[in-house]
């Protein structure tokens, strides 16, 4: 019973992170290998505030998320107008830089030994509620002018600009939002495991989230959620060691890319949510 609660919690945390990655990679087509580092920013900021300075949890949680948003702004500003390959490199570099900084500030962060003694304040209801709202926000985003313009940018940035779409502005917006989601996921993570260390937030974790989005289908939020659930719970159920889990991910992704590049759902969404639709758009968007 205890095992399945933690699986649920971690899956929900993944869902929150994956929603952010869906925005940045699925909708806007950018590859950020540094999402996990924003998670680290969130976890450490809130953790340190509570452990070292006795700040109440809600305040620390908000601070952690805002710190992630700020970091997203700082990193995103110079990065989003670069070419796709470069964005990956820069976000990777930022991730490494964050880990290096966290390792070095051992007085505050505990260095490579990690930050211990974070009170276990993340509860299942909190996590479930957070996951629900993350999905709610991202769903609304997708089916709005913002989502459409992002997809346009992803598909053909030049044509999008010719239509008056502010490519760089939107990419930055998405980058910042995504960092916020990751940071909040980090907050929940830290206050559940009660311990964090810099090594947990490396680029492999960022890549995992990207892989989940791919597996579900780049343009599909429900697909991303399904992947997060599947890929998150499967190894727990089957009790694989963590290295095998990653091997499994990789094989899945390679298979998807080769044989079914659209992923599980492609651009479509599963129609499980009854939306208040306007009369014309009765069909799937």
């Amino acid at each position: 019973m205890g095992i399945s609660v933690s699986v649920l919690v971690f899956t929900c945390i993944s869902i929150i992170g994956v929603s952010g990655v869906f925005l940045i990679t699925g909708l806007a087509g950018m590859f950020s290998l540094g999402q996990a580092s924003f998670m680290a920013v969130g976890a450490y900021t809130s953790g340190v505030l509570v452990v070292r300075f006795g700040v109440p949890f809600p305040v620390a949680a908000v601070a952690g998320t805002l710190a992630g948003v700020l970091a997203g702004l700082l990193v995103g500003l110079p990065t989003v107008r670069l070419r796709r390959d470069y964005i990956a490199l820069v976000t990777f570099g930022f991730g490494e830089a964050i880990i290096a900084i966290l390792n070095n500030l051992s007085n505050i962060t505990g260095g490579a030994m990690g930050l211990v003694g974070i009170p276990p304040l993340t509860t299942l209801p909190l996590v479930l509620l957070s996951a629900f709202f993350s999905l709610f926000f991202v769903w609304n985003f997708k089916f709005s002018k913002y989502g459409r313009q992002c997809i346009a940018i992803r598909t053909d940035e030049l044509a999008a600009r010719s239509m008056g779409i502010h490519g760089d502005g939107l990419k930055l917006l998405v980058f910042i939002l995504s960092a916020g989601f990751s940071a909040y996921a980090g907050v929940l993570y830290g206050f559940y495991t009660t311990y964090v260390d810099p090594g947990l937030f490396n680029w492999t974790r960022s890549a995992e989230w990207i892989i989940m989005v791919f597996f579900g289908g780049l343009g599909s939020l429900t697909g991303a959620v399904i992947s997060a659930i599947l890929l998150g719970t499967l190894p727990e159920i089957l009790r694989f060691a963590s290295e095998w889990r990653i091997l499994l991910y990789c094989v899945i992704v390679l298979a998807i890319i080769n044989f079914r590049p659209k992923g599980l759902l492609g651009e479509r969404e599963l129609r499980i949510v009854k939306r208040k639709t306007t009369p014309e758009t009765g069909g799937a968007v």
Partner: protein, 258 residues
């Protein structure tokens, strides 16, 4: 007061060792239809790209009415009133036909991020309005029944029409059409010319056209500019240009069946 809605003055552009456009000037009178013709590789699309801000100018200026637009970012130039279509159709494949038109309306649709995330009433209202505008535009080009289709499922001629509907969504003052009749059969070309004329009348559009089809050029243009190797070869009324010996020489081997 400038009678021309678009003024291009002495623009030049070089790519590495190739001078793609050299010292080219052009005037588009308000409400007029002007064509640019010339052999392949003459630099016509590059001129479009320079006007719409895809490439920065090496030299020269571009004015929209009295305002200098050269040097502005691409999306700003568009919002000031210049819309274009592309030689190879560049529709957004991940979106439906209606959504393609909506994306062009989106930069102007007034609701905020917060209203979006929490699905506040104004966002739903403005979305509805935008969707109605999009349907209206699709109706204008005869594509309304296809609105939920994927663009790639449409026949070629209809994809071209979709590009036009999308461009019109911007409410442009100037419309740049890059070989809009390419790949169409004679009947489609005829329909197409009718459509352009109708839109031109109804929306007082000024149109700058790149075309190879002499039929289109002769029928539609008030004035023609001929380019060759990036330079202006000749300009004038269509019938005069057609008879110009220099122009004919440049086109030998490039004869288009009319």
């Amino acid at each position: 007061m400038n009678p021309s809605v678009l003024t291009v003055r002495n623009i030049s552009k070089r790519f590495g060792g190739v001078q793609a456009v050299q010292n080219f000037s052009l005037q588009l009178p308000k409400g007029g239809i002007v064509s640019m013709i010339g052999p392949n590789g003459a630099g016509k699309t590059t001129v479009f790209n320079l006007i719409s801000g895809v490439y920065p100018l090496d030299q020269g200026e571009v004015y929209l009415e009295d305002e200098k637009i050269s040097g502005l970012p691409q999306h700003i130039i568009t919002r000031k009133g210049i819309a274009r279509t592309f030689q190879n159709i560049r529709l957004f494949q991940g979106l439906t036909v209606q959504e393609n038109v909506l994306t062009a309306l989106d930069p102007f649709t007034p609701y905020s991020l917060l209203e979006t995330l929490f699905r506040l009433p104004r966002s739903a209202r403005e979305e509805k309005k935008a969707k109605e505008k999009a349907r209206e535009l699709l109706r204008m080009v005869g594509l309304e029944s296809y609105r939920d289709e994927q663009p790639s499922n449409l026949p070629y001629g209809l994809q071209r029409k979709l590009e036009i509907a999308r461009a019109l969504a911007i409410r442009p003052k100037v419309l740049l059409l890059d070989e809009p009749a390419a790949g169409l059969n004679p009947k489609e070309v005829h329909d197409f010319i009718d459509l352009i004329y109708t839109l031109h009348e109804d929306h007082s559009l000024s149109i700058l056209l790149i075309e190879h089809r002499m039929q289109v050029v002769m029928e539609m243009s008030d004035w023609v500019y001929v380019l060759n190797f990036g330079k202006l070869l000749a300009e004038g009324k269509p019938q005069d240009v057609q008879k110009d010996p220099e122009v004919i020489k440049a086109y030998i081997g490039e004869e288009e069946a009319c």
